[in-house]
């Protein structure tokens, strides 16, 4: 056999993966279904809250947040954008997407900030985490969309899970960076005055890394928004729906207004969260 003609497949990795996922689905589907529970609760609460709230109240709250963190201009922009979204008839979809995005970002922060802190304080952990993050950022979402559906079934929660995979890396990376950027002399000073490792983290590293962590949160949010359409493919609902539906039936108009609403939502959320880091 010629080892360098590459005519035959010598490593059947695809079959192995196939077998592994099948085995996982067959034996552990129940486990994965339980993992869904907290995400479902979080999502449902946000969804219920945003939909139960009168649109006017929602707009006012967002405008106040924008005014506080990003200034008057952004506040006006927010009001205009959300009025436009409402008049386009996409209010309910927007609220669903907002709930999804906020849930995704919440879980990304919950997992990503601790991971970033650990990576920032341990060379070995960073070494191990880095290729994982690279993979998460570069694997096309379509590759893991199918196994996610197989394990978690179709629906918004699966959409959120896929979003978390896609949107997690920036907050981990920027938390890691923020922790590493803290001047070593400051840590030395804290240690010299008898700080424990936990105190160094709480009183020095974390507060000083906060602007960087906030930048990571902002990036994660943007990534989560960019997953909205892809998540709609596995039945996540929200603003991705009109886009997917429009593409399927060649209704360019429907796809366009869906896209426009996503962009407006992204711009508003971006401006507001950018303000977090600065305050």
């Amino acid at each position: 056999m010629n080892f360098f003609s590459f005519e035959e497949k010598l490593i059947p990795l695809d079959e192995w993966v196939q077998t592994f996922v099948d085995w996982l689905v067959y034996n552990y589907r129940d486990v994965f279904q339980t993992i869904k529970a907290p995400i479902e609760v979080c999502l449902k609460s946000f969804e219920w809250l945003f939909n139960a709230m009168p649109p006017l109240v929602m707009i006012i709250l967002l405008a106040i947040a924008a005014w506080r963190y990003a200034g008057k201009k952004t506040a006006i922009f927010t009001v205009v954008s959300f009025l436009l979204i409402g008049y386009l008839g996409l209010w309910d979809e927007t609220m669903t997407t907002l709930a999804m995005v906020i849930s995704s970002v919440f879980f990304c922060a919950l997992v990503g900030i601790p991971l970033g802190i650990m990576a920032g304080r341990s060379e070995r952990f960073e070494l191990f985490l880095r290729p994982a993050l690279d993979a998460m950022q570069t694997i096309p979402p379509f590759v893991y969309l199918v196994p996610v559906v197989m394990l978690f079934s179709i629906g918004t929660v699966s959409g959120i899970l896929a979003t978390i995979v896609f949107a997690l890396p920036p907050i981990v990376r920027l938390t890691n960076l923020g922790i590493r950027q803290v001047h070593p002399e400051l840590i030395e000073a804290a240690l010299a005055f008898g700080a424990t490792s936990g105190q160094v983290l709480r009183r020095v590293q974390f507060p000083l890394a906060l602007p960087s962590i906030m930048a990571g949160l902002n990036q994660t949010l943007m990534m989560a928004l960019s997953m909205v359409v892809i998540a709609a493919l596995i039945g996540a609902g929200g603003l991705g729906n009109p886009v997917v539906q429009g593409l399927n039936t060649l209704e360019i108009g429907l796809a366009s207004i869906g896209g426009l609403a996503i962009v407006l939502l992204a711009m508003v959320l971006d401006r507001i969260t950018q303000g977090f880091g600065k305050k």
Binding site: H183, E185, E188, A192, G194, R203
Partner: protein, 410 residues
């Protein structure tokens, strides 16, 4: 003396790099630093340092950059863990302490001041000053009161609510100092604390440190690369070269008997008149006259004539200096046929004794003005000796020879 020792460092080694044990063995085989680095890629930071620091003294560790002085100070509070050796603080070995003990001793006994100030940019000046107390879990009210007191000591109480970046370099380092003082430590470690400040502010801070030290005697370990600074504030100085302590002594000791060329090189360009004090060079070569009732001018004159001297130094029973008489002034007193018992009338009015701690520079005008060797007394007024013009010039000359020799060696 033993209970007077606050910090005792014994055979301390620090080796940075992948093979500390191997390097340690090579060192004990007498192989030098450079060869060890070539062989093992391992750097010898500090080798075989031993010294004792007494309670309440300012101990300056001086050396060029890379001489291991910053490493040594960090081994005292174990920010850097020694490769081998002992660091005893009040008799307890810091090297052997577990994490809890270490945290405790750092909180209770030691403060540290850094070259780059190392203030927390996200905290106010007051919070910074209270930082050590906060870590120790002391409640907000108590710690802020104590921090404020520390800020008062350095004159920054009005800036309590500012952020460090609103302050100038000198002020920031005052905050750094206040942070160290607030925990009321026995030991203050100062790592090139004033090196980043401009010369004028630096001198001001040194004076301030000395003033604080007068009020509350702390044991201060001060790292410096600046000889003038070391001379000004150090009670004793350790000089380091290439990770080794090459000489330990008072500033005067080291100036007068430098251990090797490296030490001598430090002192080149240093004006000895600033460092040597009058007490260091005064000698007891002159005739003294004890002034007691019954022995008057005639007796004194006789004593001077007996030694063939022109001047006599009059002391009381406790050897306290009273004045100088000359053969001329004694004769004048006798010729006046007055009360020759009272020798004080023969005192030379232009001569006043100088204190032994005055520097050579300070006594220079007196040396040139007075006709006789200048009398030197200690703080209680006890006669220590005299400095003649000859002696003064000889001292100058000697230190010049020292540096000349060194130049010839180079």
């Amino acid at each position: 003396m033993a209970d007077n020792i606050k910090i005792k460092v014994e055979n301390l080694y620090k080796i940075f790099g992948p093979h500390p044990k191997k390097a340690l063995k090579l060192l004990s085989d007498g192989i030098d630093k450079e060869t060890i680095f070539d062989k093992t890629k391992t750097t010898v930071g500090v080798q075989n340092a031993s010294f004792e620091i007494h309670t309440g003294e300012i101990f300056v560790i001086m050396g060029l950059s890379g001489s291991g002085k910053s490493t040594i100070v960090r081994m005292i509070n174990r920010l850097i863990k020694p490769t081998s050796g002992k660091v005893l603080i009040d008799g307890k070995d810091v090297v052997q302490m577990d994490e809890d003990e270490l945290v405790k001793i750092r909180r209770k006994k030691m403060g540290m001041v850094f070259q780059s100030f190392a203030l927390m940019p996200h905290m106010t000046v007051l919070q910074n000053a209270a930082f050590g107390l906060e870590l120790d879990g002391i409640d907000v009210k108590t710690r802020e009161a104590r921090a404020l007191k520390a800020l008062e000591q350095v004159g920054l109480e009005t800036w309590a609510n500012s952020k460090p970046n609103e302050l100038s370099g000198g002020m920031q380092q005052r905050v750094g100092l206040a942070r160290g003082l607030a925990v009321d430590p026995d030991i203050l470690l100062m790592d090139e604390a004033f090196s980043a400040l401009d010369p004028l502010i630096r001198t001001e801070m040194q004076d301030e440190l000395l003033k604080l030290q007068e009020k509350e005697k702390r044991t201060i370990v001060f790292i410096s690369h600046d000889l003038d600074e070391a001379m000004r504030i150090g009670d004793r100085i350790a000089i380091m070269e290439g990770g080794r302590v090459v000489q330990i002594g008072t500033p005067e000791d080291i100036l007068q008997n430098p251990a090797n060329d490296y030490v001598r090189a430090f002192f080149r360009g240093v004006d000895p008149t600033n460092i040597l004090s009058a007490g260091d060079i005064a000698v007891k070569t002159q005739v003294t006259v004890i002034n007691h009732p019954g022995k008057g001018a005639r007796a004194a004159l006789q004593r001077l004539a007996g030694y063939d001297r022109d001047y006599g130094y009059v002391l009381d029973n406790n050897r306290r200096y009273l004045g100088v008489v000359s053969t001329d002034s004694l004769r004048a007193l006798i010729d006046k046929k007055g009360d020759t018992k009272d020798i004080t009338k023969a005192f030379l009015s232009m001569v006043t004794a100088r204190n032994s701690s005055d520097s050579m520079q300070e006594i220079l005008p007196d040396i040139t003005e007075v006709p006789c060797p200048l009398p030197i007394v200690d703080d209680e007024g006890v006669y220590i000796g005299v400095i003649s013009r000859n002696l003064f010039l000889e001292t100058l000359h000697r230190s010049e020879i020292n540096t000349d020799e060194h130049e010839m060696v180079q």
